[in-house]
Amino acid sequence: MIAPILLLCAVPWSQGPIQVGSKGFTESVILGEVVAQLLTVEGMPAEHRAQLGGTRILWDGLVAGELDVYVEYTGTLREEIFAGRPVASDAALAAALRDAGVRASRPLGFDNTYALGMLASFAAERGITRISDLVGNRDLAFGFSNEFMERDDGWPSLSARYGLPHTNVTGLDHDLAYRGLAAGDLHVIDLYATDAKIRTLALRVLTDDLEHFPPYAALVLWRADLEQRTPGIEAVLARLEGRIDEPRMSAMNARVEADGESEAAVAAAFLRAELGLRTRVREERRAARLLRLTGEHLFLVGVSLAAAILVGIPLGVLAALRRRLGRGVLGVVGVVQTIPALVLFVVFIPYLGIGRASTIAALFLYTLLPIVRGTYAGLAGVPRELVESAIALGLSRSARLRLVELPMAMRSILAGIQTAAVIDVGLATLGAIIGAGGYGQPILTGIRLNDPALLLEGAVPAAVLALLVQALFEWIERRVVPRGLRLETEGLD
């Protein structure tokens, strides 16, 4: 029953504009904007599906055809996507991409590899420019992100490679590392070569003179079939090759993260300055954005909840009518509930693609349990003597259900639906991770940019919506639950 709805949601991207994806960090979003604006201004309408969950979602989306273009890093291709395959040389990597039906541009110019950084002033004072220079400064305090402490190419192999003798090495949260650096408690931290903080904190990136870190050159990936669908796209994308060096990328990152400009505006400024292109940036007003997000969120909740009601009530009835089967149904639905929500959101991507369809499928499964359970409990709770009275009257099974048992179970069923709806509203915010939009979008952006105001722009409406849904169902209960039943419980108070 739910399948046609999901397919309907999945279809629109097969024709429409070129789908440009980006990952959930600022640099990727800026580059996604650059690509989308460039294509659009060159007469190849493109849509940017920003800040999707992660590498796997983007790569799978590209291969499956839900995405047409996105910017990836050579290091990620080698270490993650083609991990364990012989793709060390550029030619081998290009061949592996071709086998997957993917084409790649030449590098955009910058290398966003892991790097070590110091305050520029302090580095100058000590005369340090390269990682090798650290060897003679064994008094320095190092603070590394936990990830860097553990990675294959992280601290253990780095210190071995360069023979670094330092013992004052702490693993800590990245934000704290910046603060420690600024305060002078730490002297050397790990960072990305295009980190926005390089500019804002005036950091010196130490040269990796022994070439320990694998390169993370950025390049544009696109589906091979895009060249047939949009002839000439290769040449357009090629205009970005070699145009963005590390300082430039780091500056763009800083304009978003430190100065609060939008990714779209920063991308437009780049295209104007570098390629002389005038792109139109559609800056959405806050009210308009809230309206759009509300619409998207309501769609996700509405469709998934409707499907869960349509399936959940009959399942609950079935469970109540056939007790043995019922235990099975409740068990299965209960197990679904124990699957971590994030997993459930990703599980459907291979079948339903990124976006609304997968999100709705996940929400549907998650909201099923309270409805099935509410229906089952309501029916199982009908007192035996009333069931028998109905039988003794000579009512058929279905008439008993319709005239006696379901009306008596109504309150429990509604309570189940209400719980499901409130869960649904909250959980739908996760849909943004796989590109379904809704209130999760500003929440994700707010987390990424460490911007509480933006975060609240998603969190507050989501909370308000949950309260409204709750109130709505209380109103419905007053309308739908027979007065006689309400009298009964009032009598007990």
Partner: protein
């Protein structure tokens, strides 16, 4: 005529009813009496098909009660339990008329019958729009009775219908029940544990003990010629303490 032919029932290790045969004639009221747990309710529930007997058969005017005939036969029987067993989500009127409307009786016929029943059971017409929770225990019992009588059944089965009522209301309802039972052509089976009630309402009284019939006859017969000591004992225990003060 309602017949129970060698019906028996066990629940796990307990025997609720030994193989028992009973015939209930038209225009007669039979009262089943006996200590609690002796199988009275089980017998009644077997009669209307709520409990399937381990052996034996139930026949109504010759038609055997089985899954294929159950619904049709049940519509010819009315069943009343303690507190009336009313559906709390329906008003008194809807409780009474539910089945008649479900099988498509016209609104006029239903209305006429409802008026008759209100008169018969002396239920106030303004109480029809109330929900069970808004009615007194006695009123609930009258509604339960009306519901059972709505389709003018041949058989009326009542399981301790007055058990939950206080003595004044109880006496009043006993009078009304007797009027109802005198309606033409009815076969009435009533379960009680009160010997006075049995004597007042029953043409015949059947005394049970541990799932088997001990004695069957008029109340007078049970009183004056008990078949075994247990009968005399049961009757004596039922006698009002007040009588000792005479």
């Amino acid at each position: 005529m309602l017949e129970l032919i060698q019906v028996s029932k066990r629940f796990g290790a307990t025997t609720a009813l030994e193989p028992t045969s009973l015939t209930f004639e038209r225009d007669a009221t039979t009262v089943l009496i006996g200590p609690s747990g002796c199988g009275k309710s089980t017998l009644l529930r077997i009669a209307i098909g709520l409990v399937e007997p381990d052996a034996g058969a139930v026949r109504l005017d010759g038609t055997r009660l089985e899954p294929s005939t159950a619904r049709a036969l049940r519509r010819r029987m009315g069943y009343v339990i303690q507190e009336g067993g009313l559906f709390p989500h329906l008003t008194a009127r809807d409780n009474v008329t539910l089945m008649a409307r479900h099988i498509g009786r016209s609104a006029r016929d239903v209305g006429t019958r409802l008026e008759e029943l209100c008169a018969l059971t002396r239920f106030p017409a303004d109480g029809l729009e109330r929900f069970p929770a808004e009615l007194s225990g006695g009123q609930r019992q009258r509604v339960g009775l009306m519901r059972a009588l709505m389709l003018d059944p041949d058989v009326l089965l009542l399981d301790e219908p007055l058990g939950a009522l206080d003595p004044m209301i109880r006496a009043e309802l006993q009078d009304d029940l007797r009027d109802v039972f005198r309606e033409r052509g009815k076969t009435v089976v009533l379960v009680t544990h009160d010997m006075g009630e049995a004597a007042f309402l029953g043409d015949r009284v059947v005394l049970f003990r541990a799932g088997r019939i001990v004695q069957s006859g008029t109340a007078r017969e049970l009183l004056h010629s008990p078949a075994e000591p247990f009968v005399a004992e049961f009757v004596r225990a039922q006698r009002s303490i007040l009588e000792d003060y005479r």
